[in-house]
């Protein structure tokens, strides 16, 4: 067995981060790829393993790594928890993988500015656990991969998830970012761009540059630290659930509740999903809407709930009690995880609530088309649920519809290939042709999203990219900028 040659940058990187924090073993590099999704080689030709993995411990080390990579024109890909569905944490051309998970500290809980400063590799759960000890919380509680997802990934994708209806996506909860630019300079956004400011607020001191790095899949810089707005943990939480005999009626109720902005979170189950998730529901139930409210004042929670109860009843909903609603809303993470085997096949679309039913028809048609071509994929794994059924996560002004291609047995190579191709075709069709929009992009969505962009918009982003990243080394292959 021949002695392995070290990567040409191994020593240079080891000098920056320490030898124990860098590896170029082939199996170690391979272990970083994959995610909750199907953007995985060999089915995917878009991604592959890095050549070398580096675990920086500080912003200063990230800066030095970026400078070394710029000098040598080496591609760099930034990775957090590596569990996204777009595959943005995987390189398209080898190079360096910047594994941010060692930068996992909660740095400061600033109760003057009411923000928490955390390093980008910190998991949402770790951050929330530390906040919880002080009776505090962020508004948005992280994406559905919350248990292990890192905040940097949430920022890169501008994820939605728990409490999005009230607090918005990740980006809307960000107060400031610290970013290492692809050329190695370190910047802070918002008030923190003022070198003498000692408080954190997003929208002062000029343009909202945090927005450039939110949802950008990491192409414009490496987020190393983030400040999120924080609040007292609400003392009171109420759940309420309604059964509807038509999806349209449930959507109307949800739309009217969202206009009131009382709902902190919600889910809508439709069709077979109702039977699967809530077997005790009335058999005639076509849609089950479950929502939650919270506040520190019990009276406010009660009033919010009463108003929403009235709305639901006016729309023809039947009160099915708080228990079912709590089960459904509380299990948002659980449901997402249960389904995560087929996350790669999930047809997730964010659309205005009022148009969701039309989208549902499109998703259904697509899934049925896919199932006709690949009958093996016609059911959700390990359930009796037909794959063309779906559920919706309530978003802020919209709903996120999730449908599945099912029965994905990942050890079956032919099925994997079929599934991958169907998914690509579908994503392209719906984003480019139908005008659907997605929050996850990564490598999986790049082709379709770029094809959907107005040419001037794409050119603008390219100009930005060339300005901040002259050698085009950071997160290559994503958003069609390199």
């Amino acid at each position: 067995m021949k002695v392995k040659e070290r990567h040409p940058l191994y020593q240079g990187l080891a000098n920056i981060v320490g030898a124990g924090h860098v590896t170029d073993d082939d199996f170690a590099c391979w272990a970083t790829i994959g995610g909750i999704g199907i953007e995985v080689p060999p089915e995917s030709q878009l991604v592959g393993p890095p050549d070398i993995v580096v675990r920086p411990q500080s912003t200063e080390q990230v800066s030095r790594v970026m400078k070394l990579a710029q000098r040598t024109s080496t591609p760099v890909t930034v990775a957090g928890a590596k569990s996204g569905i777009g595959g943005g944490h995987m390189p398209s051309e080898g190079g360096i993988l910047l594994d941010m998970l060692d930068m996992d500290k909660v740095l400061d809980i600033d109760e003057d500015s009411m923000v928490v400063w955390t390093q980008a590799g910190c998991t949402w759960s770790k951050m929330l656990t530390e906040l919880e000890r002080k009776g505090l919380t962020t508004g948005f509680l992280g994406p559905c991969g919350n248990l292990s997802a890192a905040v940097g990934g949430g920022i890169a994708l501008n994820s939605f998830g728990v409490n999005t209806p009230k607090y918005g996506h990740t980006g809307e909860c960000v107060a400031s970012l610290e970013v290492v630019l692809p050329t190695g300079e370190v910047i802070r956004t918002g008030t923190r761009s003022n070198q003498n400011a000692n408080f954190t607020y997003r929208y002062l001191q000029g343009p909202d540059m945090a927005g450039l790095f939110i949802g950008g899949s990491g192409v414009f810089g490496v987020v190393t630290e983030a400040a999120f707005r924080i609040y007292d943990i609400p003392k009171y939480i109420e759940f309420t659930g309604f059964a509807f005999k038509s999806i349209e009626a449930a959507l109307e109720a949800m739309y009217r509740m969202q206009r009131r902005r009382y709902v902190i979170d919600g889910m809508m189950l439709v069709g077979e999903t109702v039977k699967m998730m809530v077997p005790q529901a009335d058999p005639e139930t076509i849609a089950l809407l479950a929502v939650a409210f919270d506040d520190n004042d019990e009276r406010i929670v009660k009033i919010q709930k009463e108003v929403c109860d009235e709305i639901a009843l006016q729309c023809g909903g039947q009160d099915c009690g708080p228990e079912i609603a709590q089960l459904v809303v509380s299990n948002k993470w659980g449901l997402a995880t249960t389904m995560s085997m087929s996350y790669g096949n999930a047809m997730e679309c964010v659309v205005p609530t009022s148009t969701m039913n039309a989208l549902r028809g499109r998703v259904k048609a697509c899934l049925e088309h896919a199932a006709a071509h690949a009958p093996d994929l016609a059911r959700v794994p390990h359930t009796d649920m037909p794959s063309n059924q779906c559920f919706a996560l309530v978003s802020q002004q919209a709903m996120v519809l999730v449908g599945y291609l099912g029965n994905f047995t990942p050890w079956d190579k032919k099925l994997r290939q079929k599934c991958y191709q169907i998914d690509r075709d579908f994503q392209y069709w719906r984003i480019k042709e139908l005008g659907d929009c997605v929050y996850w992009i990564g490598h999986r969505g790049t082709e379709a999203v770029v094809a959907s962009w107005h040419p001037a918009y794409h050119e603008f982003l390219k100009k930005l990219k060339r300005t901040v990243d002259p050698n085009l080394i950071l997160n290559r292959g994503i958003l069609g900028l390199t």
Partner: protein, 401 residues
């Protein structure tokens, strides 16, 4: 290749990352609330911090290897020995649970299969384990102590070498912790059980070699041990070592066919005797203790209640729990001696963390595994913690009227 049959398991991994660090605050109802605390799940990942040390990284490596994306190398061969086999990852794994109605992906077993392939290819085990296995070969124990001294612990306890209930002391109790073996006999006799012991005919159970990847050697030991136990007339084998218990219970039948005796851990037999009213624990033991779940008793074999029930039955004894307990308890870092032998720095680092956690709640820790006993003591000693580790049987013997 032994690994091949695990291809579907490796491909089943959903890459959710729960096996790396699952922490869930209770807000808005995650179904899992902070079972491991913020220190994460995999004790080895906690020390090494690269993805290839997590269960999901290891599964990725397994299918990458089997699909031919890379080949075995000395580095990968060594890496196969870094999984401590504690199965904390399996405790939080959703993958197989959803797909097959079983527990999560059994990474420990899969890594054992990889080590078997590594040994078959002549790439392993690492030198320290080879040296340790040579001692087992020569003397029938991993300490290299004379075979003839194996039954020294039983001097003064005239034990028959034949009987229906046979006590298997194991290498650790026989050579390193004779008081454990003596206490087992004392407790059994106090409960009216006639117990026999193989004496110097007892050898190594083969667990260490099996988990090193040397299946052929483990099979040899299994054949020899089963033969000796059958000749002794054993109908029931009682084992005080968690690792010995695991191989007898879970691997011997596969290695040599159906066993002519059943296998119980001391905690199970003691609990049965307690339930039957035969074991009386009447003497007060006025101490506050905590219980450490040995991986090979708890996650590997589901023994959680019996030791706690026994300890709770002792008058005056206050049993307190650590933050991470039962299914979610942190490994002691021994990894069936694999970590402590091949990667002692990692083993000690984990032991120190576990000792700290235990010391948070009590000055005395009770466990049902001699390796845990030793490693926790080492972890405490390394940071000058006043923490005493004791075997369950020893504490029970103290409570005998």
């Amino acid at each position: 290749m032994a690994l091949e049959k695990y291809y579907p398991d490796a491909r089943n991994c959903m890459r959710c990352g729960y096996c790396r660090d699952i922490v869930a605050p209770g807000s808005m109802g995650s179904p899992i609330r902070d079972p491991f605390g913020i220190d994460g799940v995999c004790p080895v990942y906690h020390e090494k911090r690269f993805d290839h040390y997590t269960a999901r990284g290891r599964m990725q490596i397994v299918w990458g290897l089997l699909d031919g994306f890379f080949d075995y190398s000395p580095a990968l061969a060594e890496h196969a020995y870094t999984c401590c086999g504690c199965s904390a990852c399996t405790a939080v794994c959703w993958a197989d649970a959803e797909k097959r109605g079983e527990e999560g992906i059994k990474t420990a077993r899969i890594m054992r299969a990889m080590r078997q392939d590594v040994v078959d290819m002549g790439l392993g085990p690492p030198e320290p384990l080879k040296a340790r296995d040579a001692l087992i070969d020569a003397q029938g124990n991993p300490f290299g102590k004379p075979k003839a001294e194996r039954s020294n612990w039983a001097k003064g306890l005239p034990l028959p070498q034949k009987g229906e209930l046979v006590f298997w002391a194991g290498c650790y109790a026989a050579y390193e912790y004779p008081e454990v073996a003596q206490a087992v006999v004392k407790v059994l006799r106090a409960a009216g059980s006639d117990v026999a012991c193989l004496g110097d005919k007892e050898g190594c159970c083969g667990m260490l070699e099996l988990w090193d990847g040397n299946r052929a050697k483990a099979k040899e030991r299994a054949e020899s041990n089963v033969k000796a136990l059958a000749e002794a007339g054993a109908k029931r084998l009682v084992v005080s070592c968690a690792e010995c218990y695991d191989i007898f219970k879970n691997d011997y039948a596969e290695l040599v066919g159906a066993l002519p005796f059943d296998v119980v851990h001391t905690s199970q037999l003691f609990a049965q005797l307690l339930d039957e009213g035969k074991l009386k624990l009447g003497k007060p033991v006025n101490k506050k203790v905590t219980y450490h779940d040995a991986c090979y008793l708890s996650r590997h074999n589901g023994i959680y209640e019996e030791p706690r029930k026994l300890l709770s039955s002792i008058p005056g004894l206050e049993l307190v729990e650590t933050r991470r307990k039962e299914k979610y308890a942190l490994c002691c870092g021994s990894g069936a001696d694999m970590l402590t032998t091949a990667f002692p720095d990692v083993g000690l680092a984990i032991a120190k963390r576990r000792a700290e956690e235990l010391k948070e709640v009590a000055d005395i820790v009770v466990t049902g595994c001699p390796r845990c006993l030793r490693n926790i003591a080492e972890g405490a000693k390394a940071q000058s913690l006043d923490l005493t580790a004791r075997d369950l049987a020893v504490v029970l013997a103290e409570a005998l009227p």
